[in-house]
Amino acid sequence: MSYAYLFKYIIIGDTGVGKSCLLLQFTDKRFQPVHDLTIGVEFGARMITIDGKQIKLQIWDTAGQESFRSITRSYYRGAAGALLVYDITRRDTFNHLTTWLEDARQHSNSNMVIMLIGNKSDLEARREVKKEEGEAFAREHGLIFMETSAKTAANVEEAFINTAKEIYQKIQDGVFDINNEANGIKIGPQHSPASQSLNVGGSGGNQGGNCC
């Protein structure tokens, strides 16, 4: 797999907000209604194209459970982007956002792009958190905001790709030091032209997939 950049993402948020489902929808384009609790940190990858460049997204899906917090924290480091997810049908997940944000800001580099995601937008009937509230929170903390549904795949692609675009823009603006891998960005390997034509835009592997 040849790519121009590799971006490291991390998905955080309370347990049961649909982090793993978002990842599964993005990498495998499928939805699993029954999903076991994430024990530890899982992993997914997918290639996307931005501005004509192949970009590999390496996504770390963390366990939302409080007891795993210490483990997941160690994964903040070296992430270029974070998807902070809450469940629009559960207000408490929205209320915990501040804690998560603090945690993320504290353990990651300051330039990390954070996208706030209100998931389960398909369950409009059970909505507890208004879209406006999400927007307001995002504005207040300088985040990008989007409501998604991992079940219907609405906005899932956009959430990941918009984050990547933001990071890409920051690279273009010189905000990120791309040579410091601690920023969660890696320049693609000097690949031979022969291998360049292969594997364009393919979806990534599952947990523990090819990681370069």
């Binding site: 699993q32 024990i39 940190v41 090819n210 990681c211």
Partner: protein, 916 residues
Amino acid sequence: MAFLQWRRFNFFDKEPVKDPATDQIFDQLKDVNVSACTSGRGQLIVGDFEGNLYFINRQMELTAFRAYEIRVTHLLQLKQHNLLISIGEDEPGINPLIKVWNLEKMERGNPACTRLTRAIPGNKPTPVSAFTVHENLNFMAVGFENGIVLLYKGDVTRERHSKSRIVYEGNKCVTGLAFKTQGKQDLFLFVVTENSTVAINLTAKDQQTLLENTGASIGCITMSDASQDNQLVIGRQDAVYFYQPDGRGPCLAFEGLKLQLHWFRGYLIIVGRESKTLPRAPVLGPHGMEMNTVTVYDIQNKFIAYSAPYPQVIDVLCESGSIFIFTGDRKLYQLQEKDTQSKLEMLFKKNNYALAISLAKSQQLDQDGLIDIFTQYGDHLYSKGDHDGAIDQYIKTIGKLEASYVIRKFLDAQRIHNLTKYLQALHMSQTATEEHTTLLLNCYTKLKDVSKLDEFIMTKNRAVDFDVETAINVCRQSGYCAHALALAEKHRKHEHYLKIQIEDIKDYQKALQYIGKLDFESAESNLKQYGKVLMNEVPKQTTELLKRLCTDYKPTDKPLIDQNSLDGTLPSKIQKANAEEFIHIFVNNSSKLTEFLEHMIEVQPNSSNLVYNTLLELYLHDMVHEKDISTRVDRERKTLDLLKNPDANYDIDQALILCQMNNFKAGILYLYEKAHLYQQILRYHMEHLEHLHVIETCKKFGQQDPQLWIQALSYFACKEEYCKSQLMEVLSHIDKKNLLPPLMVIQILAHHSTATLSVVKDYIVRHLQLENDQIAEDERLIKQYREDTEKKRTKIEELKTSAKVFQASKCNICSHSLELPSVHFLCEPHSYHQHCFESYAENDMECPVCAPENRKIMDIIRAQEQSKDIHEFFHNQLERAPDGFSVVADYFGRGVFNKVTLITDQHSKTSNASTR
């Protein structure tokens, strides 16, 4: 914290290993002070603190030999080669010695030791804490307690050519080493010490990557297999971490103190001590041994495959497809993995179908097995009332599971959404039958889901994956005519299209246009079928189409001249239908029929007689029902024109009947004339008492049929009213042409009272006069013939009886004076010089002068003789002759009744010869 763990199953059967020879529990190692274990190639290998190596083969047979003088510390059996590498000590003190044993080569009953190398980092002997050998036999890494890692490069089995170098220098004991080949060439060495985890790229100048600032204790390091991408797996207190050479990968938060990590076919085996969560003191096994927990995790499917306590696990060996656990009481336990089917059974019992499916997939279960799981899952969800979920599962069984099984479950009206979904999927997979299509369409219509119906019908441009006719029928029945129509049009089901267009939608215009677009055969047959309806509704257009169809038909959407005819290669065949086959369509619409037929006759004068007959009938009908005189005349003219049209191929008899029925005089007369039925014309006139016309007809056709006159005569004769002039005229004609003997005329006239004598007086008188003259003439002739006959008789008598004097002085040929020798004939008499006679006469018997005359008479007689026998000729003559009697008389004269045939040659010869 059981909640934060994976699902737990028991997919392994625990069994203490027995000695097959004695059937007792295998305890031959009970006194061995085990220091190291390894396994491979079907055998388990144990080393002890006395320097012995024990080999246990599959049959649990134990062999042993002494490998080291003091003790064995580390053992490694390679998987691809039958090589055992051991580290131990032969001399007291710290003096680790690497030995490589070739287990295939025996020397004095023991395996051959092919290499013997001291393992000393730098110059200070240090105990070895970890070591590993690359399967390619070119690399061997040894880690020491002081944190140094020594890499031996070159053939592992021999000491020669082997070079060693220090690749890592840490400050804590090296706890684990592992090689990883990435890509084609990159070779990495993972080094784990007590406080760090490092990857060293051996192919890139030993470039080091620090993976983590923590390490692991001895034993808690293993390598995953290819299913998990050959990652380094490290167990720590909080979790199990996976590493790639360039960084940390995922982690699994399995808490607890870990003693050993092993990898077995996609399973991660952790030997741990659950200290924190246990409320009481560590459970002690027999002999006061600490209890350990052996847990087998399925990493891919995320569940615990086995978990059980064992007393003080020494090592876990993975060999021959099962796991051997070597416990502190020197017993071996074998964990045998259950077969996939029984695993699935267990999952089914717990209704854990999702896991069953992913397990089946990872175990490469065949398709049938998977289908079975889907079915069971579907059944389960169905029984739980989760119909949406159930149908999703059933959809996965399409192609294998009998569709009716599923359909029957969802036939309830409330489940129609699910049923629809299933049927849709069925159609997608191209396995739907006609009934399925029907059902699906019925579902759509029941749901009133027009958009779906649209989608199903309109957007399927690929191969037809449902039965179109069924679909059309269902759509029609449920009132979705537009859909049915679209379907029919798309799939060129012309009959259906027209049926719908005409019977349901009643858009006749469109139907007609559609027919116009069809190719000839379809257009023809469809028009035959629906022509009547169309004619009723849109007569004008239908007629136009029919005209086209019956002349030179081309579908409207085709160019007038197709490519073939342009190229001139293949003259396109003119396709036209038979007009007569469409006549019935025009029932109750005679004006259009007239128009149509006129058109047909115009473009195609050789149309069949049915066309003409029908047209004629129409004309007559029109004519009769026309009230207005001028138009009526016009119509009469038109009809007559048709009748007189030389091309008109009507049936005369039928035309006649039609004319008679409609009382069309001109037509009747024309037809009689055409059919040469002059008598009929006459009779027609007679019936209509048109005397003038009777005479005229007689005059006109008297030539062809003289009988007309006679008929006219009897007609006039029996007329009540006075019609002398006509009678006179007829009589004069009869007289002139001598059509009837006077007696007959009299007879005819006598029958009727109206004809008075005065009328016929002249006629009779004239005739009597004529006959008198005739009689007189005949008598005169008879008398003359009698006289002639008498003369001939006397002459013959004379010739017979009296002599004849030849007095001629001149030769009748040369007119010179007669000289001897001479020849005399009785006939005139004629005399000739002999030489003249010889040169002139055709034969000796005849007089050359009289011969031509005689011959002429003879010929006449002969001809009469011959012709008298040709009876046909006689009869012919008799019939043709105006006076038959004269013919008979003539023949009588020729000797028809002569019994003896006259042979005149004989006569003349005798008579002539005698004169010589």
